[in-house]
Symmetry: C3
Subunit: 424 residues, 3 copies
């Protein structure tokens, strides 16, 4: 018998059990900051920004189905090279444009041949007299797209609110030996497969950025140096600092090395779903990587990452691994035994149950981010423009500030003084 309890009538043992799961109320999530479908508060806020929805290479003359913000759409590219994002059901009789044929100026439905351009204009109805007399009545619902940094950006919001597409200083003014690379492989989250989709709400992934403690537990103590190796990691010698900034929430942490160097690291969640880290390998300087936690729907995400690389350097994507094995090379048992971001985030369920949480001081970044998101959504609900939406060409380039700043000139980290080794 491992557990001896006595009935209260017996008056001779410990009191009745406390805290059992009996009678638990069903937990609930907060839909206001999590649900992203059309017409939802968070979804309407998200739709006020250009969203990165796919890699430029995903838009080809073979149409493909994608789901973004709970909407099913067809992505394609006409033979002039213009990408298009259309509602899937042909305006005529509803056959999916997945079976459509990309032509020079648009996509043609397989069933009766109606053709639409990337803005949904009906160009042709070949079985109608004279090719169709009222083409303008058959507009195929569409979304405007732009291509930038190897990514296709869509604006899925109210047309009269469409902002300028932002540029980022870290991706502009490339040197001749530099290039921009974009990936949707969800490396830090899990898989290496193309367009890797993780089954959890966008906030669960986004919150991770402002959650420095999980690095020390999940990625170090628990699963054994999934990111930088043991010797590359300084101590955490000053309290983490979290600040509301104009366009999101910023985290700063400071550590010292044995040799006296001090490194200040800046991370940020930027509205609406942009994420910025400091180089996890502790290289000095701005981190020339941005991530986007793109909601596929309420319970799935796609992570798009844009990086600036030097041509003569190996691409150093952030990728969890254990013993040299990448996530998608591990067995389910190995993943269970050495969990990473994918397991921790999807292990919270499709949408986590906020009503059951016990938040503590180390969750300060998460709490601030939730508050900041809530406030932005409320601004949209009140008819305003949320932070980061910009209509001024003079302000089109965003200055990115995240990265590692060392107090000495050396950019090569030395052996760490101490790690949170007690749990390893």
């Amino acid at each position: 018998m491992n557990d001896i309890h006595h009935h209260p009538d017996q008056n001779n043992g410990p009191a009745v059990d406390i805290g059992t799961a009996y009678g638990m109320k069903a937990g609930t999530h907060d839909p206001f900051i999590t649900e992203v479908g059309p017409g939802t508060p968070c979804g309407e806020w998200m739709r006020r920004y250009w969203q990165p929805i796919a890699l430029a290479t995903d838009a080809t003359t073979t149409p493909t189905e994608i789901r973004i913000l709970g909407e099913d759409l067809i992505l394609f590219r006409d033979k002039q090279g213009r990408p298009g994002l259309l509602y899937p059901r042909c305006a005529h009789r509803g056959t999916s444009l997945l079976y459509g044929r990309c032509e020079d100026d648009g996509i043609r439905c397989c069933y009766h041949g109606w053709k639409f351009d990337v803005q949904g204009h009906c160009l042709e109805q070949p079985c109608e007299p004279n090719g169709g007399s009222k083409l303008e009545l058959a507009r195929q619902p569409w979304y405007p797209l732009q291509e930038q940094y190897g990514v296709i950006w869509a604006y899925m919001g109210p047309p009269d609110k469409k902002p300028l597409l932002q540029k980022y200083d870290i991706f502009e003014d490339l040197e001749p030996d530099e290039y921009i690379d974009a990936t949707d492989m969800g490396r830090s989250t899990g898989g290496l497969g193309k367009r890797f989709i993780s089954p959890c709400n966008w906030m669960q992934h986004q919150e991770n950025v402002l959650d420095p403690s999980h690095v020390h537990i999940l990625h170090v103590a628990f699963s054994g140096y999934q990111l930088a190796g043991k010797s590359d990691r300084p101590t955490m010698d000053e309290p983490w600092k979290f600040e509301y900034v104009e366009d999101g929430v910023r985290e700063t942490n400071v550590s010292y090395y044995d040799d006296g160097r001090r490194v200040e690291r800046i991370f940020q969640c930027r509205f609406p779903n942009e994420k910025r880290a400091a180089d996890p390998y502790f290289r000095a300087g701005k981190f020339h990587v941005l991530g986007f936690t793109v909601p596929v729907d309420d319970t799935h995400i796609l992570v798009i990452t844009i990086s600036r690389f030097k041509k003569n350097q190996p691409q150093l994507h952030v990728q969890l691994n254990l013993g040299g094995k990448a996530w998608d090379q591990m067995t389910p048992e190995e993943r269970r035994d050495t969990p990473g971001d994918y397991e921790a985030q999807t292990g919270q369920g499709g949408i986590t149950l906020h009503s059951e949480e016990h938040l503590a001081t180390s969750d300060r970044g998460v709490v601030m981010w939730r508050r900041a998101v809530r406030k932005q959504i409320e601004i949209v609900q009140a008819g305003g423009d949320p932070a980061g939406v910009n209509y001024d060409p003079a302000k089109q380039t965003v200055i990115v500030g995240n990265g590692n700043t060392f107090s000495t000139v050396s950019e090569v980290p030395v052996t760490a003084k101490k790690v949170v080794d007690s749990l390893v």
Copy 2:
């Protein structure tokens, strides 16, 4: 940048985007003419006719589960050769008769051995005193069946309205070298597999028959002569004619060959779910083939086709193919690239969204068929007998009129003058 837009505040660019998918209302389907479950308007209409539910060879002494009109049933054959169609749950304690044993006079449930005949009479309750004293109280719900033309027909409607099972002139009075063949392989729709079930509503398949334009786009221009070859196809020189007839909607189209021959082709949708075509290979005369678009449930169909063949001729089933490949030999990518009826019809979804359609002049046949169906359903709702329901043995044989009629005696088509080649 492929797509330059400016904010309206800037007053320097094109107007705000029009016709985007933002704010689209959710589409709806018309349940009145599509949904077929018990008690639905369309379902009650369908149930006023004998329905072909399976091939005669499907009813064997091994029970099998089938779903028809949204009802799950068990089809079997007793050892006297009588087919039976019973509600699956044994009247006793509900175990599925799928596990039953077919005996000479009925089927016996595996659990406690109650035996039922093909009309649901309980014949035996072996564990009850004297084999059961009130057998008549345990009637197993059943449906009457008839076998004809290699097909099993069920009457699933109100018992006091059961009509006579129709015969068809094209399948009667066989010559010694002729025979009737039935198939449920869904050849023109897609698969060759046994009892091939397509995931779409019955109207999506049925409408295809009165939709001549899709032939020229889907089967010719788009996917490259999926039916008759290029050289076998005349031009379309006269407008298509659609007519309401007593028992459905009929389409007539006329074409001319280079050599002056004129061919008049007649197609028909007949109430409730019968379909008749003209020979797609342009052979002259009545087309000795009937099809039935049998609803499995609201979003699935089974297509049963009955043909009259000559013994010394190859069976020429209508079968889509491309480059000699049948549908079920193609990869998913090949199907996407050369879509046929299956892709076009299932690409409309489980039930298409009528509210989003933009019907045009070439949809005239579809529109007329929907109207005609609606009217028949309303007749049933008003307590009347719908068209085609017959109680008079003198009128039991239906005269079929579809086919190709040539104005010259030649039955061999010659090279076509012109095809809709511009899109090929």
Copy 3:
């Protein structure tokens, strides 16, 4: 034509069809005695008893997910050897403890390292100042466990009603050559796989015990001696007797052998979900086997069986077979052709439709068990203690009475006089 019917208007044939499936009302189940989720009448009754939820060997230092009574839980064992059953979502931020690490005194969540013991006490919050200052506020919901007879028993009911865990006379006072074995392989129900779960409501399996007629039909006449062989089986010469007893419903049946021996066999369903049989191989004496029909949820069960064996004898588990093949070695077709308990019980559906049943005299045991269960549930609803719940250590050992009692001293059955061979 197999079935000739005439329309009533014709006045020349049989009357209109009777008893067809047309217009059947949808069947319903009785939720009162079947549904087991938190807060349901039956579920609250079940929760008043210690439930066998897993084998002792299922609780290891690798956490595992289990579902019991509709609740998802994590089973684990700390390195001191104590089993734990916790709510899966970490009290902190909800990551599943499936990814937790078992330590000496509890389980640690992978995400931020909070550690809980088997009673849900939070022992550590490593990222909080000083390891967490208010650990007692973060109690992880838990259930008390005990280990006995190789099984883990959980009490999932109201804490102030927790009874003593029962012992059974047949499993106590082992001789040196005896041992207790527990299995969750669901042998008589079907599979041999570990933790075999069958898709049906618990009542469908439990009712089987008081349903002697199914043995003669399903296991003998239908599928050919799935249990004891033909020669080991006596006749059924006296009516079955069913009795309400203090803790359930008992069945007694009597049979005679050719040599004049008389065997009296006792079966019982004991509250809430315990089942007791007589040795199906007709060995004399108490049957040293107990089964438990453990509800996984409303439509799934796990069967846990505890047996007392002699070390020098082969384990003779009850296992259905046909021609030497166990259930999980059969093809689906073989299972369909020789159905057993699994097919009969799951063939009734997830929860059988009581509204459609036609109960007869041979269902007397089933009817009595349902009534008895209903009454116990009503006792709980009225605030009372249901039968079998015990707080008195002096009454902790239950005396088990099921088994085969022969009127002669021979324990070796001889050739049976007659079996229900007419149906074989």
